[in-house]
């Protein structure tokens, strides 16, 4: 990815605005890998300007009713449609408390204008390493619902994101929603370090049951490697509860064990240092609640 070249135009394409989900799937079946779906367009338009994507057909799904729904069902958790924007999620209140980690992650994505256009599913499908919502969704054991010519399937976010800008999605398939299981009885939080730019250099998402020994614990780091990465070793350090001692140990393990990459934004060594910082910050904040 170059991100910086001076393209100011978009490649030629034909714009489609289907009225419902059946029409979307029909267009996808017809055009296959010549088509790209557009939610908020924030990612797609940027990719097209860079000529990283030059689809012949752009299918605008932002007003497709079936994709605009946020549904909460008892025992099943939360289902967020593909066209639901980040602002709608923040303002709708569905994430508060139970899904604090996701609320905190998306509240600090870009700026309010971008959040009003960008969608959660768009964040996932971009699969850009420094985007903040995928680590939060992974920590919550979320999965995506995929529809296509071969029927429907459900894939955990963890395996859906295969690499940078690489997702488990066929040419005529689409993600219709993201499903987040119940997280009642857990405490969760998100922390990131950006160094003042809009790109995270290291982020962490933590979900931890409130009571007992050997708790449900999930810790996922973002922006330090080509995909969000889970650390079972850090999870083990906090599984029996959060204390100043266990938090210190967790931060130590994070900086030692989690693999980081060198890139244009930061060195691996700096990211290693930041892992200690964000782990300490997030766990301290959880302890003080």
């Amino acid at each position: 990815m170059s991100f910086g070249s001076p393209y100011t135009t978009l490649p030629d394409f034909e714009y489609h605005k289907p009225a419902n989900l059946d029409e979307v799937l029909g267009l996808l079946k017809e055009y296959g890998d010549e088509a790209k779906l557009m939610g908020g367009g924030v990612g797609l338009i940027a990719f097209m300007k860079e000529r990283l994507m030059s689809p012949a057909h752009v299918i605008d799904v932002k007003e497709v009713k079936e994709l605009k729904q946020v549904t909460r069902s008892s025992g099943k958790g939360l289902r967020i449609g593909a066209a639901v924007t980040l602002s709608e999620l923040l303002e709708g209140g569905a994430l508060k408390e139970e899904y604090a980690v996701l609320q905190e992650a998306i509240a600090r994505v870009a700026d309010p204008m971008i959040r009003r256009r960008a969608t959660l599913v768009g964040n996932l499908c971009e699969a850009i390493p420094w985007v903040d919502s995928p680590p939060a969704l992974m920590a919550l054991d979320a999965a995506v619902d995929i529809a296509g010519p071969g029927g429907e399937r459900k894939v955990p976010v963890e395996s859906f994101i295969r690499g940078p800008v690489d997702i488990d999605l066929g040419p005529s398939e689409m993600v219709t929603a993201v499903e987040i299981p119940q997280a009642k009885g857990t405490d969760s939080a998100f922390e990131k370090f950006t160094g003042g730019s809009e790109f995270s250099l290291a982020s962490v998402a933590v979900v931890l049951s409130k009571e007992g020994k050997n708790r449900r614990a999930k810790v996922v780091y973002g922006a330090v490697n080509s995909t969000p990465i889970r650390s079972e070793e850090v999870e083990a350090a906090i599984r029996d509860g959060l204390t100043p001692g266990s938090a210190r140990k967790a931060a130590e393990i994070a900086t030692e064990k989690v693999e980081c990459v060198d890139d244009v934004l930061a060195t691996a060594a700096y990211r290693k240092h930041l892992l200690r910082v964000v782990t300490t910050k997030v766990l301290r904040r959880m302890m003080s609640r």
Binding site: F3, P6, Y7, T8, T9, L10, P11, D12, F13, E14, Y15, G41, V42, I45, A46, M48, K49, V58, D60, A110, D111, P112, M113, I114, R116, R117, E198
Partner: protein, 164 residues
Amino acid sequence: MREIAVKVNGTERRRSIKDNELLLDFLRERLEVRSVKAACWRGECGLCTLLLNGHLVKSCLVLAVEADGGEVKTVEGITEDGELAPVQKAFVSHGAAQCGFCTPAWVLATHELLKANPHPSDAELVEATSGLVCRCGTYNQIREAVAEVAEAKQRHSKETLPRV
């Protein structure tokens, strides 16, 4: 090419456009509304900000065809009967511009903020305008201008409190 109709600052405008045209180019090149600035082209600086169907958007990240049948408002649309809006007057009196290139976007964004939240705290102002850049760094003057309008609103609302 396809024809689209967009209400811009209250007037319906029709133009033929290409599907891959940005809303930014539609405004600047087809309608010659030049207060909408082209600067970073990647949604980072916010100088192409305008209101699309009542919401602030960065028009370099919106297709022109998306605005078909909709309503666009730019800084020209916030004056009433030829009189500057309060925030515009405050920008003038506080010198909240150096080169002035970003001023239309800031005026529009702070005008909208003050409409939704008449007394924004500094933190709320920073958050609401975090998508905008002033390359000359007139942030302090902008903050003072916004504070003046907020105070004036407070004075006004106190003065008009019903007597009991």
